[in-house]
């Protein structure tokens, strides 16, 4: 593991019952690095990314996030989750709270920030995702794209060192995909470490430092975007690319 590594995953194995979903996953992510994980559905990419903040348990291997080690016993879950922000495919905003309350909940109740400071900070992040004027609305009153941007702001309010994105644009209307991707590009430009599961190859090409291609629970190929698209090595990668790029 290199010294500027912030997420280290070694020999990660996971089973659902008898089904071996993740097989010998090894990935090192450097500080500020953007990694896009792609692959056919059922390849284990979401499961993999969800292991990093312990939303899924695993049976073998270890994950180190910012020096905090997470083994199969998941002992230091709380510490890891404080360092890792997550954005879900289905947004998962809290529907009974306003946008602002969604963003201040964790700082107030987990980090014990005074309410006023938490609100000021939340407004700053809402401005960053360009929806400060919606702060007092409820999630159901926003469009899908706006909801996902609120979800990004909510994750950012905890000052995470790493952001995980689990297919953030898959549940959106085509028109709204761009506004979310733009927000993510901005975030990447500011130097955030990001692991993104997505099918948006344009985003991958523009933002990623590395692309990880997964199939059948294992990493098939890892490469820079330029090489990945122009010169894929593995036959499975070539097949995948030929199917999604037309």
């Amino acid at each position: 593991m290199t010294t500027d590594s912030i997420v280290g995953i070694a020999e990660l194995n996971k089973w659902y019952g008898d089904f071996h979903v993740l097989r010998d996953i090894n990935v090192d992510v450097a500080k500020g690095e953007r990694i896009v994980i792609c692959g056919p559905s059922g390849s284990g990419k979401s499961t993999f990314i969800r292991c990093i903040n312990a939303l899924e348990e695993f049976q073998e291997g270890r994950i180190v996030v910012d020096g905090i080690e997470l083994g199969p016993q998941l002992r230091r879950v709380d510490e890891v989750r404080r360092e890792v922000g997550m954005v879900f495919q289905s947004f998962n905003l809290f529907p009974h709270l306003t946008v602002l309350e969604n963003c201040t909940l964790a700082p107030i109740w987990v980090r014990h920030v005074p309410k006023k400071d938490a609100e000021a900070a939340a407004m700053k992040y809402l401005e960053r995702v360009k929806i400060p004027h919606q702060a007092n609305k409820y999630p159901a009153q926003l469009s899908g794209g706006q909801q996902q941007r609120v979800a990004i702001a909510r994750a950012l309010t905890m000052n995470p060192k790493v952001m995980l994105f689990d297919e953030p644009t898959s549940a959106l209307d085509p028109e709204m995909v761009k506004e979310v991707l733009d927000t993510m590009v901005d975030l990447a430009k500011e130097g955030m470490t990001m692991l993104v599961v997505t099918h948006e190859m344009g985003f991958a090409r523009e933002v990623a430092n590395r692309i990880v291609f997964m199939d059948a629970g294992q990493i098939i190929e890892t490469n820079t975007p330029a090489n990945f698209f122009a010169n894929p090595q593995h036959a499975r990668t070539k097949l995948f690319l030929s199917q999604i790029l037309r």
Binding site: N53, A54, L55, D78, R81, R82, V84, G85, M86, F88, S90, N92, L93, F94, P95, H96, L97, L105, A106, W109, V110, Y138, P139, A140, Q141, A151, R154, A155, M158
Partner: protein
Amino acid sequence: MSDTAASSFVRQVLISERTAPVKVTGFVGFLRTRLFNSPTNILLTLASVLLLWITVVPAFKFLLVDAVWTGKDRTACLAENVGHVVGACWPFVQAKFSQFIYGFYPEPERWRVDLTFFLAAILLLPLLIPRLPAKGLNAGLFFVAFPVVAFFLLRGGGLSGLGVNWVTGLLSGFADTVSDLGQKLTRAGEATAVIGPLLQWLGKLVVLLGAAVSGLVWPLVWLNGQIQGASRPVWVDFAVTAAIVSLILFFLGGGFRTGWRILLGSIATFAGIGIVIAVMGLDRGGLPIVDSGLWGGLLVTLVVSVTGIVTSMPIGIALALGRRSTIPLIRFFSVGFIEFWRGVPLITVLFFATYMLPLFLPGNFKIDGLVRALIGIALFSGAYIAEVIRGGLQAIPRGQYEAASAIGLSWWKTTALIVMPQALRHVIPGLVNSFIGLFKDTSLVSIVSLFDLLGQVHASFADPIWATPTTLFTGFAFAGMVYFVFCFGMSRYSLFVENRLNAHRG
């Protein structure tokens, strides 16, 4: 004929507005579109009118037109004296009104009941109106302070001590029970053949445990003795308790860094308790004791239903969460508890609580009859509430739990801040349904000789002074109206809350 196949069309003149050929608005429109728009509907409309005619008109006649409004005894409500068919005999309700409200609560002490009702009203109303501020303080006063004050107001009596006294009593009682159990075990061991020695050994161990507990409790017993020996034991105990509790809260709240606010809150709370003790004279024996056997009427109905509703909520929430717990022991306990209480009729529960429970309790342990019924009802309705709330919990998508975990909320915080608020909103109709059911089920306490409103009304039929052909109907009509007012109020308020809380559903 014009060319229908032409695909281009340009309108030259705009069509101006015309009135509808048949009237579709207003009363005539309503008649036409809603009441008489098809043969079936005409039939249904006529049948409904007929139904209304044969129910509403006689009720109206009985309650108002033919009713007798004034009189001193049964003679006022007899047909031969009135000269026409007699409806409701309202003077009967007038004469018995105070009994319906207070039961046999002694007349000179009834101001205490009035005061309790008054306090309940001025604490509950602001709690129900969302616009008013200080909900936290208000809820604290209503749910914590009010029950204590109401207890001493309605029942009377004073205090012999405070925290130190209670804790001492509880712990030494516990130590005694443990020693007692140990001795019983030892004796059982002497009498049993095969596992006897084991039981004996276990018994001795338990006795030893009891002795150890008493040893630990001893300093407290000594302190309690000193306090009780002082000239004003309640106030000394009050000061000691206030100091100990405040200090503990202060250090738990973060000590010199962040504990100051909690310390202030604690001191303010104890100041409030002190004021209550002083005003009600609890240190000097308090108000004269009115045994709960004398309570009755609406007072008992309200005490039982409000206590039942307020206590069954936390019980229900705990059981609903327990039933979904991943810890097997908690889950099995919750399932067993819920299924047991749901499987037993309320009447059985009340009988058991009233007549059987005293047989199981240690001899020196007495619980008031009303309290026994209250405990039975709280547990019974807690089981029902638990299932209602579980329905709400199941409606919460998994993503909510995941999102809460991902931002670092613990299980408790997720439950309190994310899951419960949403789950409870989903089940408001079911909860209110249970509450209304509970309110009306309180009339069952009359089978364990507690006289609630209905029981009191029923009992008053036996009075020969008011024995007329319509007394019975009048009494039940009155009771029905009182129940209806409360239940309808709950129903309307819940609709209001639902609309308000569901604003977020866009």
